[in-house]
Symmetry: C2
Subunit: 123 residues, 2 copies
DNA sequence: CTTTAGATTAGGAATGATTCCTAATCTTGT
DNA sequence: ACAAGATTAGGAATCATTCCTAATCTAAAG
């Protein structure tokens, strides 16, 4: 456990439910550890999301986002402003059949899209 | 309707259910129209997916894939070899609640992940 | 069948996100 | 304290994709 990894984790926790990009995590982490490098942030985010300590959220047409909240939940993205909301897993049900013969289903990435309240009113 | 757009569409149709990348579409299109440029392929794929003529499939940690089949269906990706299978929409049911107050739900991107039969046996 | 305005193209440079490289530094177990 | 291995900073490199520009093509109107 290095100071850099702690700084990344702390930054992600401070970000709360804003689902920051790696760049944003970098900016936040720099406040506590000004010497930290962007590559270090990427590497720690990658490793932690592989190990399950955090969650990586791939976004079509945009940089990946990250989440310190690892409880089972899905995300809903505002296509106008890019804000990401959490939706608790118990509010989602997915049923699927017709999976190819012999394939082992591993898991789902569900990314819903919406126009968020702010963007609806601004529009 | 230009020769380039036709070549892209034709390439995508020839690719069948292989869900090719833009690079692969480029290679296929070049066979019929050797002068076509990669940027032209990207632009035509973008425009056609925006207009709904084709489908763009964003893949986490990989280049986008494309599909000439526009009937409502979802995709399942083998995490080992990157192959993408189609799953008919009628085999999928998604129910969701707890959408943020005032948000307008637009649609879902569902990308399931599996280990495909080939990869299971090779393993 | 010309004209012409607007769209599209080829080719390559530029961008954005991310990974890779290397020497230097740190961490951890002993 | 010390060696072995992991991690870091900094920057170069990579990959997918978009952007730029002058040249070419398309389609609609005469």
């Amino acid at each position: 456990m290095t100071a850099q990894k702690m700084a990344v984790l702390r930054a992600l926790q401070e970000a709360g439910p804003t689902h920051p990009t790696a760049e944003t995590v970098y900016a936040l982490a720099k406040r506590h550890l000004p010497s930290i490098a962007l590559g270090t942030v990427y590497r720690n985010l990658s490793k932690m999301s592989e190990s399950g300590e955090i969650v990586k959220i791939p976004v079509p047409d945009g940089p990946d986002r990250f989440d310190a909240e690892i409880s089972d939940h899905m995300h809903i993205l505002c296509v106008c402003c890019g804000k990401i909301y959490d939706i608790d897993e118990k509010n989602v049900r997915v049923e699927i059949s017709g999976v190819p013969e012999g394939a082992e289903l591993l898991h789902f990435d569900i990314m819903a899209k919406c126009k968020c309240p702010d963007c609806k009113s601004k529009n």
